[in-house]
């Protein structure tokens, strides 16, 4: 099954070169093990825009949609047979990016 792994960002400094290198190495391992689906870093929450397209005219407002001290700084989508495998893998991912992570299952298509 697939899991969304959110990177919980709770500090002001952005990723250091050491962290970036560690993340690259970790991603290589994910690919070698067949766990890689996708990953990306995100720009600051202040750059986001909220869309409400439910009315006649879409409404665009300055984001983020939730104000909080912690935000999502990036994410992985990984493939793992079960949660234990996902947790063990991403414990190393947390070490590599030096941030806390949240692992959340992605609903299977058609489930």
């Amino acid at each position: 099954m697939q899991y969304l792994v959110s990177v919980i960002h709770d500090k002001t400094n952005s990723g250091t070169p050491e962290e970036a290198r560690a993340i690259d190495e970790f991603n290589d391992r994910l690919r070698a093990g067949g766990h890689w689906v996708f990953a990306a870093g995100l720009a600051a929450p202040s750059t986001s825009t909220v869309i409400d397209g439910r009315g006649d005219e879409p409404v665009f407002t300055d984001g983020p949609f939730i104000e909080s001290k912690e935000h999502m700084a990036g994410f992985w989508i990984i493939d793992a047979p079960d949660l234990d495998v996902a947790l063990e893998l991403m414990a190393d991912g947390s070490k590599a990016c030096n941030r806390r992570l949240e692992v959340r299952p992605i609903l299977a298509v058609g489930a």
Binding site: D82, L83, E88, L107
Partner: protein, 390 residues
């Protein structure tokens, strides 16, 4: 049965409901058709069919694997060893660290221990609907998040074991002092189940001190069960029990485990200390021969590991024997804020006040204890004690 069905179908709800339906069918048919030659196998086969029916009805065939499993429903019943393995797997699933601690305990009691939701709700002092939701939510997470049914890898095992032991100790305690108003005061099914499961874990980890400690603690406690409830249905305190009725075999095994841990020279953990305290108690032929200074010394060690008010309360009971009821009462009164809602706190206070001949205060404390106690034999004992005050 729930464990092996859960493994096979990968869904706790289906496993539980199928097992329940199979039993219901047996109740309907056996009186008319007669009991089948192998009731266990009959139930397993019936439950498997019920599970398959349910999966078909609910169109839960989400993958080919589950379909393949469904086709093998004429497989022979699994040997006992395999069923034990299934239970161990189910314990690790129920005690998974991705679940909240309270959910782990509730799930293990429900699915491994077989307690009802009202019994578990009472054990945790929450309403039945809250407990029902907690269990449903935990089962939902197991299914949706892909928490596996298997024994963790060697590197994860020590950390996962700690959580499992905490849950097994809780199951044992629920059996040893059952909380239901209509249940037997001591539920041997639960204590035996907890001991059996702890033995299984010990086979997995024979060198783990705390696993051995918990097993010893359970054995030394279970050994006293025959003397624990009087013919009149009242709980008998340790000091007044007929020690000849204790189970000598269980005591011998418990003492052997405690000695083995002492000989290892490793620093004891919580369960090993509790087992050692129980070894001191069960070592005394007569309650008056109890080595209370040894008991207090062991509690002192335990307080350093676990500074909870409940440990302090139990330590004070031993202090009362060594230094007198007045010293113990002074310790206990400092715990009032933390333990005001706990029946054993008021029962202990009542007993100490009785010894100090402060009758009115003792009576009031017994009243509080009786109001809070959930165990029928304990309520009977406390009422008897209160009425003796005259």
């Amino acid at each position: 049965m729930v464990a092996s069905l859960a493994k096979r179908f990968g869904d706790l709800d289906i496993a539980e409901e199928a097992a329940a339906e199979a039993f219901a069918t047996a109740v309907e048919r056996w009186p008319a058709d007669g009991v089948p030659p192998n009731p266990g196998a009959w139930l397993t086969t019936t439950a498997n069919r019920k599970a398959i029916d349910r999966i078909r009805r609910e169109h839960k065939r989400t993958d080919k694997q589950r379909e393949a499993l469904m086709l093998t429903d004429d497989s022979p019943p699994e040997p006992l060893g395999a069923i034990d393995d299934d239970r161990v797997r189910l314990i690790f699933t129920c005690c998974h660290p991705a679940l909240a601690m309270e959910a782990r305990m509730a799930l293990t009691l429900r699915l491994v221990g077989g307690l009802t939701v009202p019994e578990i709700a009472r054990g945790f002092l929450v309403s039945e609907s809250t407990m029902g939701q907690r269990i449903t939510r935990a089962k939902g997470k197991i299914a949706a998040a892909g928490i596996p049914y298997r024994v963790p890898s060697a590197s994860d095992l020590p950390a996962r074991i700690t959580g499992v032991l905490a849950v097994l100790f809780l199951v044992f305690n629920e059996g040893y002092l059952a909380t239901g108003p209509d249940t037997d005061p001591v539920r041997h099914d639960l204590t035996a189940e907890a001991i059996r499961l702890t033995r299984l874990i010990r086979e997995l980890l024979p060198d783990d001190g705390e696993v051995a400690g918990l097993l010893a603690l359970m054995l030394l406690t279970e050994a006293r069960r025959p003397a624990r409830v009087s013919a009149a249905g009242e709980l008998v305190p340790l000091g007044e029990q007929d020690r000849d009725a204790w189970d000598a075999e269980l005591i011998a095994e418990g003492h052997r485990l405690v000695r083995e841990r002492l000989d290892s020279g490793a620093a004891p953990g919580r369960y090993q200390l509790l087992a050692a305290i129980n070894a001191v108690h069960t070592d005394a032929r007569d309650a008056r021969d109890t080595d209370w200074s040894q008991v207090v010394a062991l509690y002192d060690q335990l307080v350093r590991l676990d500074p909870s008010p409940i440990v302090a309360l139990n330590r004070a009971i031993a202090v009362a024997e060594l230094d007198g009821a007045d010293v113990a009462l002074a310790i206990i009164d400092r715990l009032t804020d933390a333990l005001n809602g706990y029946h054993a706190f008021h029962a202990t206070r009542a007993e100490l006040l009785r010894r100090l001949e402060r009758r009115a205060e003792s009576r009031a404390a017994y009243d509080r204890a009786i109001a809070l106690a959930g165990n029928t034999a304990e309520t009977a004992y406390l009422s008897h004690r209160r009425d003796e005050l005259g």
